[in-house]
């Protein structure tokens, strides 16, 4: 049985070798189809993974309410020079959220942009004032020393933990532990810990946490206050913001939707009317992203299928030509005892071999292509074995499906006519 199958396959190869160029060109149609299927699936998978990681950075069980400066209105313009624009989340609101979601872990976050000085090294970045729970919520790791504790907060201690990038900028050569960083004129903070590199985009506003300095929440409140004055050009602008962000971690991803609803209800007025709070639910974003990626993948799959379809039509065309050319051979074989099924088998195998050859080369090309895409376009690509299998199976199926009609035609020739064919 196996030997007979091999014999038929070898016969198919021999027949294809009669027209090397023609067979090669036909194979190319399938080849590019298969390669594009694999490459497109790899790109799709890579993009999906990318999005997944991005949202996982934010924490899929997290809910984030963030203060944002409302769009300028008539009232804000009419304010006097020294009155502050007041917006954003309040301490009281954070307390309310915590009380409404007793199973959740809440981290209040304050932010202030300040220049930081260490000897001759200098960097302006965000100082984050937050609670001990922040570390768990953001899933960051301490590389050296320790994280902020409750006791620091109660004592309003001047201690800080540095992000990895900031550490390199301020302490390029020294060990930062127990050294001090100067903020403003005389505010010194002792370094009690250094975070390991996160390499994430998530952070305080547009500044990644790697570049931030972390101090106790109430120390932050005491030193910097709620009113922030910025000078731009010749004018002052004063803003009063209590909390920049409230992060909420739900016990599991099943609770996220309910938690999001609670927070949106509590902050409904802020979100919809004053527009100074933005609630972000990473899980929802992830789902949206997956949804849109799914559409994207479907489009890719359709395009790839079309190229395989074109390849299949090429195969059918060539097989029809082959069947016509070899009418005599079909007649001979029928005279020597071949049944219709034998003829069908022979030409199906030939079409299958043709497309499977394209499939094999296509897989090779398709596995190589994503590497080029990754190097040239910095687009992450992931090749899954099942996608390679899928592409190859499709190519083989295309050969069989498009070989069916030519094979059927060959089998149903009248042997007498076929033998008379010149």
């Amino acid at each position: 049985m196996i030997r007979d199958t091999w014999r038929i396959v070898r016969l198919g190869l021999k027949s294809l070798m009669l027209h090397k160029l023609r067979s090669a060109l036909t194979t190319a149609g399938i080849l590019f189809g298969v390669a594009s299927v694999i490459a497109m699936l790899a790109v799709g998978e890579g993009a999906k993974q990318d999005a997944l990681e991005r949202f996982q950075d934010m924490g899929v069980t997290n809910l984030i309410a963030r203060s944002k400066k409302p769009a300028e209105t008539a009232t804000s313009n009419s304010q006097s020079l020294w009155s502050a624009l007041s917006y954003g989340l309040l301490y009281a609101e954070a307390d309310l959220i915590q009380a409404s979601l007793p199973t959740s872990v809440v981290a209040r976050v304050r932010e202030a942009k300040r220049p930081m000085i260490r000897g001759e090294h200098f960097h302006t970045s965000i100082i984050v004032g937050t609670e001990p729970s922040f570390l768990e919520l953001t899933n960051m790791q301490v590389r050296e020393g320790r994280w902020l504790g409750d006791i620091d907060d109660r004592r309003l201690a001047n201690v800080c933990v540095l992000g990895a990038t900031l550490t390199r900028l301020l302490f390029p050569l020294e060990n930062p532990m127990d050294q001090t960083v100067l903020i403003g004129d005389d505010d010194r903070y002792r370094v009690v810990g250094v975070l390991s590199e996160q390499g994430r985009t998530a952070g305080a506003g547009s500044t990644p946490y790697d570049e931030c300095m972390f101090i106790p929440l109430h120390t932050h409140q005491r030193r910097f206050g709620d009113v922030n004055t910025t000078r731009s050009g010749g004018s002052f602008s004063r803003e009063r913001v209590e909390l920049a962000e409230v992060k909420v971690k739900m016990p599991s991803s099943e609770d996220v939707a309910a938690g999001a609803q609670v927070i949106r209800d509590l902050l409904a007025q802020r979100i919809e009317e004053t527009g100074d709070v933005l609630v972000t639910v990473p899980l929802e974003l992830l789902k949206q992203e997956e949804e849109s990626k799914r559409m994207f993948n479907i489009v890719l799959a359709v395009i790839a299928s079309i190229s395989l379809l074109v390849g299949g039509i090429g195969i059918m065309n060539v097989m029809l030509a082959t069947v016509t050319e070899r009418t005599r051979e079909i007649g001979i074989r029928r005279a020597l005892g071949a049944k219709k099924k034998h003829v069908v088998q022979q030409f199906l195998v030939e079409a299958g071999v043709l497309s499977a050859l394209g499939g094999v080369v296509g897989v090779t090309l398709g596995v190589g292509l994503p590497f080029l895409i990754t190097t040239w376009f910095a687009q992450k690509t992931i090749i899954l074995p099942q996608h390679v299998m899928l592409a190859f199976s499709i190519s083989a199926a295309v050969g069989v499906v498009f070989g069916l009609y030519p094979a059927w035609r060959a089998a149903n020739m009248d042997p007498v006519e076929a033998l008379r064919h010149e």
């Binding site: 001979i332 074989r333 005892g337 049944k339 033998l419």
Partner: protein, 265 residues
């Protein structure tokens, strides 16, 4: 030559098997009983064969002759089970095959008939050996046995050294020898030849006809359609067709060591 000897033994065995099918030494292996073959051409009915009856016995050497349009080709197609009669019976080895379906007819062709064509009809992309194995392939009998048999038969027709060649590397006469060997591969009840020497020069023609003579002691039965009287003379009997009917059946003088006679049907 051990291989050839084994091959010979294998052939001898199958010959015994063929013998066991025989009822008697004068067994009738192919028989037409009032066979008609009509074609519809538009509104007309062409009566290509119109009530032909004849018998072929084991060991026979029969030629079928007639002008073009006499029904020779139609008769050949029917004899070869490539076509079915409109009416009448065709018995091969005692079995009526006139109403068999396509697969069953393929089986009859594959097991009982050895085709030899005017234009040799070897498959060009296959080697001589592979061409010889084609009939057995469709019976699922390709293997060491088929190879031995092919070697033996190639030797028998005088082409023992050409097994690895492609048909187009051989002369016409050599190709026809391969075709004859191929026709013998399935131990057929009879060889069915269609102008077997029509594409050959007269010297080669004589060689091929000699080969047929040479094969006859092995118990080979030959039915040959031809329009060449020289070829027909080498046979035992000649069936003349005219307008789809049997005109006469002539026993050849040389063969029968008697004056040409017209047999009654």
């Amino acid at each position: 030559m051990a291989v050839a000897a084994d091959g010979r033994a294998a052939v001898a065995q199958t010959a015994v098997a063929a013998e066991s099918r025989a009822v008697s030494s004068n067994e009738i292996i192919a028989e037409f009983v009032d066979v008609h073959r009509h074609y519809k051409m538009g509104d007309n009915v062409v009566r290509a064969l119109n009530g032909v009856s004849m018998k072929v016995s084991k060991g026979d050497y029969l030629t079928i002759m007639g002008r073009s349009g006499s029904g020779k080709s139609t008769m050949l197609n029917l004899l070869g089970c490539l076509d079915r009669p409109t009416r009448g019976e065709y018995r091969v080895g005692g079995r009526d095959v006139s109403k068999l379906d396509d697969d069953a007819l393929s089986n009859v062709r594959g097991h009982e008939i050895g085709f030899i064509f005017q234009s040799f009809n070897l498959i060009p992309q296959l080697t001589v050996l592979e061409n010889l194995e084609v009939p057995l392939f469709y019976q699922g009998r390709v293997g060491a046995e088929s190879r031995e048999k092919a070697e033996y038969l190639a030797d028998r027709v005088g082409l023992g050294q050409r097994l690895a060649h492609k048909p187009l590397e051989l002369s016409g006469g050599q190709q026809q020898r391969v075709a004859i060997a191929r026709a013998l591969m399935n131990d057929p009840l009879f060889l069915l030849a269609d102008e077997a020497t029509g594409n050959l020069d007269s010297n080669t023609e004589a060689e091929i006809l000699d080969l047929f003579d040479d094969l006859r002691p092995d118990g080979v039965t030959i039915v040959m359609v031809t329009h060449n009287p020289t070829v027909a003379q080498r046979a035992d009997r000649t069936l003349w067709l005219k307008d789809g009917e049997v005109e006469k059946l002539v026993t050849n003088a040389d063969r029968a060591d008697a004056a040409p006679t017209e047999e009654s049907l």
